[in-house]
């Protein structure tokens, strides 16, 4: 058992606030990702959980027990860093066995455990090799293995995949998820990569400028971001933002020279009750912008010029300039067989059920269809 409670944590470095009154509750066996841009306080949070840093105020509790005064070595926490910190003069075997030897585990048990972990991580053929001679990918696996083998109750991972090549990263992502579900340790995973956070975790804590923005399941973070920062940070390509005015039950798209986007009366009413001002920003994810080539779309379509496109293999991303006097570029993700050409005209549409409506001033979400909301467990 190991659930983690962070209670009103504050950490400052000089005048800089690294973590600002953070409250977070992580359940036993949960996989939580801490996601945010560089400098948002992610690693500081980790270091306070592990005990490498002391909070200025607030508490770190494991299973209700205050840990603030407990030294790092006694907290039962396993670590994996981005830079692997393995012993390059030791063999792979000795590296993995290190934590067990320190804990005076009998050699026969050590041997069994090391081999099991090595097999899981597919480094079993490298056990006799000097760790300094390993490839970057294998070093990272050894670093993971060294921590896994001690079976810590809490596993802290700080960008452990960021030095790996893309193919291995995608493979290790699935393996990490599988391993965590099998071993069931409480895992906290720090990353700036939204794909890793989305794919691995049960819950994501999105940080920005030392402040927790949102703590929820990947599904809800993607579909119900609390503000424009979260909406923009999650999803690739990023969400489209269009400035609009809410007026007599319609959205007037200011960025598209007053294009009228009609709303159902139910939606209009819901927006009306939550709105503080009529100035809003609407968000539309690129996968929800439907594009047809040519100018011939219906009257309700927005005409746009394709200014750029990217063939990304499985998908094509279109960058379109609506044919109104605006600087706005609208992105759309289309299947890879979409025929795109720069300078061609296209018609684009989107549906009410896919809209995100934000208050322009506060940037907070004011409306989103309830159909995509999942009650978190």
């Amino acid at each position: 058992m190991a659930d983690i409670t962070l209670d009103n944590l504050v950490k400052k470095f000089g005048r800089q606030t690294a973590v600002d009154h953070l409250n977070l509750s992580i359940k036993d066996k949960e996989f939580v990702a801490i996601l945010g841009p560089s400098g948002c306080g992610k690693t500081t949070i980790m270091n306070m959980i592990s005990g490498l840093l002391n909070p200025d105020s607030g508490q770190v509790r494991f299973d209700g027990k205050v840990m603030n005064k407990v030294p790092p070595g006694k907290r039962g926490v396993g670590f994996v860093f981005q830079n692997y910190a393995i012993f390059t003069y030791m063999s792979v075997y000795d590296n993995i066995a290190f934590g067990l030897k320190v804990n005076k585990i009998p050699p026969s048990t050590i041997d069994k455990e090391v081999k099991a972990v090595a097999e899981l991580l597919q480094v079993d053929h490298l056990l006799e090799m000097n760790a300094g001679k390993l490839s970057v990918n294998d070093m990272q696996k050894v670093a993971l293995g060294r921590s896994m083998v001690t079976k810590p109750q809490i596993f802290l991972l700080d960008e452990p995949l960021s030095n790996l090549d893309a193919a291995l990263r995608s493979k290790m992502r699935a393996e990490l998820k599988k391993i965590q579900q099998e071993l069931g340790q409480t895992t906290i995973y720090v990353t700036h990569d939204q794909v890793e956070a989305m794919s691995l975790s049960g819950k994501i804590a999105v940080m920005n400028f030392a402040v927790l923005q949102q703590y929820d399941t990947p599904h809800n973070i993607y579909n119900h971001p609390v503000n424009m920062f979260v909406a923009n940070f999650i999803g690739s390509p990023t969400i489209n933002f269009v400035e609009a005015t809410f007026q007599s039950g319609e959205l007037i798209l200011d960025d598209f020279q007053g294009f009228h986007f009609p709303l159902s009366s139910a939606t209009a009413n819901q927006i009306q009750t939550k709105l503080k001002s009529d100035k809003v920003v609407i968000g539309i994810r690129p996968e929800h912008v439907k594009v047809t080539n040519g100018k011939n779309g219906g009257n309700s379509d927005i005409k746009a010029e394709i200014v750029n496109y990217e063939l990304l293999g499985a998908r094509t991303v279109l960058y379109m300039h609506p044919s109104m006097n605006t600087e706005n570029i609208i992105k759309s993700t289309m299947p890879s067989d979409f025929k795109a050409k720069n300078g061609n005209f296209a018609s684009l549409t989107f549906e009410e059920q896919h809209l995100y409506v934000f208050d322009k001033e506060s940037t907070e979400l004011v409306w989103r269809t309830e159909a995509t909301w999942h009650q978190s467990a």
């Binding site: 560089s38 794919s199 990217e310 293999g313 570029i329």
Partner: protein
């Protein structure tokens, strides 16, 4: 503006061969990406072009002139690095005009040139600031501005975006591509990021272990990879490789895996069966987006499998499934729901199957639409 030609170039560093017998033609005005893992020889290739290294064998031409023996400063190449090397104590203006000052250009021409460049890069409002006051993306633009203002014949870029965060990188990709289209100059862009290569390159050269693997347009290199290395460096998640056997005993030839059988009478498959009666070890390559996943056994080409891990990404879902002893990745819709251990069925898209020799990794066949007669579960 100039083309670049490398002929039979080889470069060693002590015992390691960094570049092996490389032949490459980069066209004038082309956005040319060099893609490869760390240690592939990408940076060495750039250093050879710019003249910081000299080839032991082979020659390098820029335009129509052999520059193999020419001093770097005479080659008229601009290089933009990952760490931008801006002067921190100089303003943006001074940083950009530095090369012109070195050329002792008169003040009026300098003003005219910088106005144009600053506008092109949308940094006209920042000219009086120092680099420390700029965002990562703005600094990147200043570094590019300093290169553009010289009007070099060729631009070389060594992973210029890798220090930027994800969102900025996305934005700079579009900026760089638009800039190159606008300038119509030769860009050689080195990266380990397949998305950058696919999205910006007119053509991509894939490099591994100092050897050229393939050169082609992004579309062709993605659709028709010549070997397993190229197939796996492109795409996210990358292509799946499923070990299979080609059996050519009878007239009805078949390719078998523990879980399915592909039977064919098509001539194009002949080359997979080298000798009559002999078993060939193959890798069936199929991309995650070319596999469909079903909750029911709907059609007779459905192959039974089991869910290993589900990775929701928001706009889509990566489903890792167990197919016999193999784990393969499938790209499913955002609303796909599945649990670990659940039994599912997959179908493979016929016209997107690739067959590789297991030993050499060379592609033997890219399947076209009708040449597979039947895929059936076993």
């Amino acid at each position: 503006m100039a083309s670049i030609r490398l002929s039979n170039v080889t470069k060693h560093f002590k015992a390691t061969t960094a570049i092996r017998d490389l032949n490459l033609e980069i066209k004038d005005g082309e956005f040319f990406c060099v893609l490869g893992p760390p240690g592939a020889g990408k940076t060495t290739l750039l250093r050879l072009i710019v003249g910081l290294e000299r080839p032991e064998i082979g020659s390098i031409e820029i335009g129509d002139a052999d520059v193999s023996e020419m001093h770097p400063s005479k080659r008229d190449i601009a290089m933009i690095f990952q760490n931008l090397a801006l002067y921190p104590d100089k303003t943006v203006f001074e940083n950009i005009v530095f090369p012109l000052r070195m050329q002792k250009m008169d003040e009026k021409t300098i003003q005219k040139k910088i106005t144009k460049v600053a506008k092109q890069l949308k940094i006209d409002g920042l000219l009086e600031k120092t680099p420390a006051k700029l965002s990562g993306g703005e600094r990147q633009r200043v570094a590019i501005g300093r290169a553009i203002i010289r009007k070099p014949r060729v631009y070389l870029m060594d992973e210029p975006l890798s220090n930027l965060d994800a969102i900025l990188r996305l934005e700079m990709r579009v900026t760089l591509k638009a800039l190159q289209t606008d300038l119509n100059e030769t860009f050689v862009y080195v990266t380990h990021d397949q998305v950058e290569a696919l999205s910006m390159g007119d053509r991509i050269a894939v490099l591994n272990d100092g050897k050229l693997q393939q050169v082609d347009t992004p579309e062709k290199i993605y659709r028709l990879p010549e070997n397993t290395f190229v197939a796996s460096i492109l795409g996210s998640p990358p292509m799946n490789f499923i070990p299979c056997n080609a059996n050519g005993q009878n007239t009805a030839e078949s390719i078998t895996h523990d879980c399915f059988e592909i039977s064919t009478t098509s001539d194009s498959f002949k080359k997979l069966f080298q000798a009559e009666g002999e078993k060939q070890n193959l890798l069936l390559g199929v991309r995650p987006e070319d596999i469909n996943i079903h909750h029911q056994n709907d059609t007779d080409d459905c192959i039974a499998a089991e869910i290993y891990v589900v990775e929701p990404l928001g706009n889509e879902t990566v489903v890792d499934i167990k197919l016999g002893d193999n784990i393969i990745k499938v790209l499913a819709d955002a609303d796909f729901i599945g649990t670990i251990g659940e039994k599912v069925w997959i179908t493979l898209r016929f016209d997107r199957l690739h067959f590789f020799d297991k030993e050499s990794g060379q592609c033997l066949l890219h399947n076209s639409k009708d040449s597979v007669s039947r895929i059936a579960p076993l």
